[in-house]
């Protein structure tokens, strides 16, 4: 069995599966249940400043979208940071960490954007023996209206400034949690790095309205007829998160900056994908909130089996393996020519490929009287839509034309690698 232990910016954990700062990590009871189930670490739910506890709404905090059979695909929330007294949290963190020495214990923090506030909270948590801090610059709802959370995360200068305060007033490893509600995710990551962050974690939740009640015309989740945007998470956000992780992993300015991957991690495979794109570990919330803590057992066995099958002995063998293959469009090989191929033995004759291609794409699939569907190579641009809409996995495959073969659509022979930067249609090439 592969060794799943990780050392993330000096924080050790028996596996790379941490619970993200969120409702599941709000108190000792939950966190201990998580550790009993096998989670490698937790980021404790965000603590705020000393003072009157935060107040939450007393109606629904979550909204959701579902697939068939109510499979939860996306969740949003309007819950704020912990609403329990600070000292209660601190005492519990200390108690749990002492009891579970081998697990990672990181504390998420969100306090007003002034140095004293940060200095104060860092001082208060020092005694907990926690392994590190995570700066919550991500939450897009509620706290952002008070100048915290994503309100900070959307201004790189603030990120840098606060991160510097934290590194100045604490010796703890510091993770900066980024909001995806921004144009270019690289900018806040660069700012965090400049401020001295040891790592970034992303993504936090995405501004969202999950649905609209078409009887009461209120957004969901609805509080007394009104709704507000909440933070979106769960399987639906994973592709967005993967891209943002990859952007930071491959950018010159942030290359090598440790990343904790967050966003729709539901299975071992999701975790492996985040790690391949540069995440040193992953944080999970929605999957645990949907299915309970036991899912970590599948994550552990799945990742371990995968690593064994690939001959990987440590998670470091996997981390960032896919990063070199993430590139810009302009460097993609324009001489890579594929054609869709429909395996007639697997085809169930639903005709979805035909409808998709005929109605919305390139009219490259022929349909016979007896419902045999075949690709017209002379029309196929290899867009992959037929593959994506086919209900039978691997029934339609994209076959690569070997070098020297003629592309029936263009009449050209397949040549060596060439990309847009040298293409004759590229105005900047022609200008030279």
């Amino acid at each position: 069995m592969a060794n799943l232990t990780t050392n993330f910016i000096g924080i050790k954990s028996p596996n790379p599966f941490w619970l993200a700062s969120a409702p599941p990590t709000d108190k000792a009871y939950n966190v201990e249940r998580a550790f009993e189930a096998g989670w490698g670490g937790v980021v404790w739910k965000t603590l705020g400043s000393e003072g009157p506890p935060v107040v939450n709404v007393n109606g629904p905090r979550y909204g959701a979208i579902w697939g068939a059979d109510r499979r939860l695909l996306g969740l949003n929330n309007i819950e704020l940071i912990t609403d329990r007294p600070l000292q209660v949290n601190l005492d519990e963190i200390k108690m749990v960490k002492r009891k579970w020495r081998d697990r990672a214990m990181v504390i998420s923090l969100m306090v007003p954007c002034d140095e004293e506030s940060w200095k104060d909270i860092l001082h208060r948590i020092e005694d907990t023996e926690a392994d590190g801090v995570e700066l919550n610059f991500g939450c897009p709802h509620g706290m952002a209206e008070r100048g915290m959370g994503s309100a900070v995360g959307q201004v790189p200068e603030y990120i840098e400034m606060v991160t510097r305060w934290v590194k100045t007033h604490s010796r703890m490893p510091c993770i900066v949690k980024l909001t995806p509600n921004i144009n270019d995710i690289r900018k806040p990551a660069e700012a965090a790095k400049r401020g001295g962050a040891d790592a970034v974690s992303l993504i936090n939740t995405i501004n969202s309205i999950t649905s609209v009640n078409l009887d009461s015309f209120s957004p969901e989740p609805m509080i007394d007829g009104k709704g507000t945007h909440g933070g979106y998470c769960g399987p639906a956000v994973k592709p967005i998160a993967l891209n943002m992780v990859a952007e930071i992993a491959r950018a010159q300015a942030t290359r090598g900056l440790p990343i904790s991957g967050i966003g729709g991690v539901t299975t071992w495979r999701d975790a492996a994908e985040f790690m391949a794109l540069g995440a040193g570990n992953v944080q999970v919330c929605t999957a645990a909130m949907t299915y309970g803590f036991k899912i970590v057992q599948e994550m552990i066995s799945g990742l371990s089996d995968y690593m064994d099958s690939k001959g990987m002995t440590a998670t470091s063998d996997l981390v960032a393996r896919a990063v070199p293959n993430v590139t810009d469009w302009q460097y993609l090989n324009l001489n890579y020519v594929t054609k869709a191929h429909i395996n007639q033995d697997d085809c169930i004759k639903c005709g979805r490929c035909y409808a998709a291609c005929e109605d919305t794409s390139h009219q490259a699939i022929a349909m016979s009287e007896d419902r045999t569907f075949t690709v017209k190579d002379a029309e196929c641009v290899a867009c992959n839509l037929c593959v994506n809409v086919c209900p039978v996995e691997n029934c339609i495959t994209m076959e690569v034309l070997p070098k020297g073969a003629t592309d029936e659509r263009t009449g050209k022979k397949v040549d060596d690698y060439a990309n847009w930067t040298t293409h004759p249609n590229n105005p900047s090439v022609a200008a030279e």
Binding site: G67, A68, D69, R70, I348, K349, C350, G351, R352, Y354, A355, M367, R371, P391, V392
Partner: protein, 426 residues
């Protein structure tokens, strides 16, 4: 409970009232809303979908399933009913395994088709339970259409003709409208008096008057109808049963299966006597319905004997399996040779294709060897009615062509109404 399945002879109450109620309850209850959405999600929304091609009434199945999946079952029902006004009954009695579901690509893919029949029922029942009739009549045309026979073909024709603005008069020989839906389908397929409820719902279109107890030949003549109406539709079904032509066929205890099934539909099950050893001769749906319901009434031994090979049986594989799982024994390739007994039947002698003879003990025998148009008054073409090019149209079991199915009858009635409309308005 007076008796048990072991009691010899033809007796009442082999099972308790509770057991009988359970046995004759709805065989496949309506899906609930969540089940329907899950089932609907399995539909691939095929291009030029094979299920539509396989449906005799050409219901746009992918569309109605998508309407269910998106939470609009009433719209789904309208999609169904605009093609097949008896979509509710067809959802219950269609041999979907050889029609839409047999053609479903998921049947090919994984041997588990989308549950089209049950989804159709979900949609139509949802609408009908609300008492909504989603169609209205066109402006009155002043034309009069006579329909003979209030079965699926006749009612389908009547509804469409009424919708097109014609005034329709239906003549029905029996006491109730519905035809085989009312008298000829296994009770558990049309539980809770569904056939009658569907007729009531169908008539909400307006413009249809039904006269029951009026049979062609005895009470009305074709000549009268031709004289008094702009068009006449004959949907009179098959009134006669093929004769077995064997000695002993007139013994006590030997019945036509269609009569047995009819009695079952119109009688309290506790008041129905059934034999201990029942033999059903035939290999079609009627034979299956008679055999299965004999078991459900408590017959201990029910044997269904068919003269041909298994694959030649007109009962579908699904129906055969339904019979065997109900405890019916099916014997193939055995032809009836004689029915034994003195006053009462005691057994039926068969001969295997190879020549070997055997006798199955019987205290009750049901003959399900097909029906015929014999005795119908007019317009004979071979043994089936043929649509006349003038004022007379025909459809359903009595008409030439088509399958022996409710859904086919509905399609033919509908199409006849469209043809009538074109002709009389032309």
């Amino acid at each position: 409970m007076l008796n048990s399945p072991f009691t010899p002879g033809v007796v009442l109450a082999r099972l308790s009232d509770g057991e009988l109620a359970l046995n004759f309850a709805d065989i496949s209850p309506m899906l609930d809303a969540h089940e329907a959405r899950v089932a609907a999600d399995r539909c691939y929304f095929c291009h030029d979908a094979p299920c539509i091609t396989a449906c005799p009434t050409d219901i746009d199945i992918p569309l109605f399933i998508r309407q269910i999946a998106t939470g609009t079952p009433d719209a789904a029902a309208k999609t169904i009913l605009s093609q097949n006004i008896m979509g509710g009954m067809c959802a219950r009695v269609c041999p979907t395994e050889v029609l839409c579901e047999g053609a479903c690509v998921r049947e090919m893919a994984e041997g588990k088709p989308v549950e089209i029949g049950r989804l159709q029922r979900f949609a139509t029942d949802t609408l009908m339970e609300k008492g909504i009739h989603p169609f209205t009549r066109a402006a009155a045309t002043g034309k009069k259409v006579a329909v003979v026979g209030a079965g699926p073909a006749g009612l389908s024709c009547a509804h469409r003709a009424a919708m097109l603005g014609h005034d329709v008069t239906v003549y029905e020989a029996r006491a109730k409208a519905g035809g085989l839906n009312e008298y000829g389908i296994a009770a558990y397929k049309a539980a809770d008096d569904f056939a009658a409820r569907e007729v009531d719902w169908l008539l909400k279109i307006g413009g249809i008057v039904i006269h029951c107890g009026k049979s062609l030949g005895a009470d009305i003549t074709l000549a009268q109808l031709e004289a008094n109406y702009d068009a006449v539709f004959l949907g009179i079904g098959l009134g006669s049963v093929n004769a077995l032509g064997l000695a002993g066929a007139d013994l006590d205890g030997v019945h036509n299966a269609v009569d047995f099934i009819e009695t079952l539909r119109q009688t309290d099950k506790a008041k129905l006597a059934i034999g201990r050893d029942v033999v059903v001769i035939g290999g079609g749906m009627t034979a299956v319905d008679a055999a299965v319901q004999s078991r459900l009434l408590g017959a201990q031994n029910v044997t269904m004997v068919y003269r041909g090979a298994r694959e030649k049986m007109s009962a579908s594989a699904y129906e055969q399996e339904h019979a065997t799982s109900a405890g019916v024994r099916i014997i193939h390739n055995a032809a009836p040779k004689a029915i034994h007994g003195s006053a009462y039947v005691t057994g039926v002698e068969f001969t295997y294709a190879g020549g070997d003879a055997f006798t199955v003990p019987a205290d009750q025998v049901f003959l399900a060897i097909g029906q015929t148009l014999e005795g119908a008054p007019t317009l004979l073409d071979g043994k089936k009615l043929k649509t006349n090019a003038g004022k007379i149209w025909a459809g359903g079991d009595c008409a030439a062509g088509g399958q022996d199915l409710t859904v086919t009858a509905v399609a033919e009635g509908r199409d006849a109404a469209m043809a009538i409309h074109a002709k009389i308005m032309g």
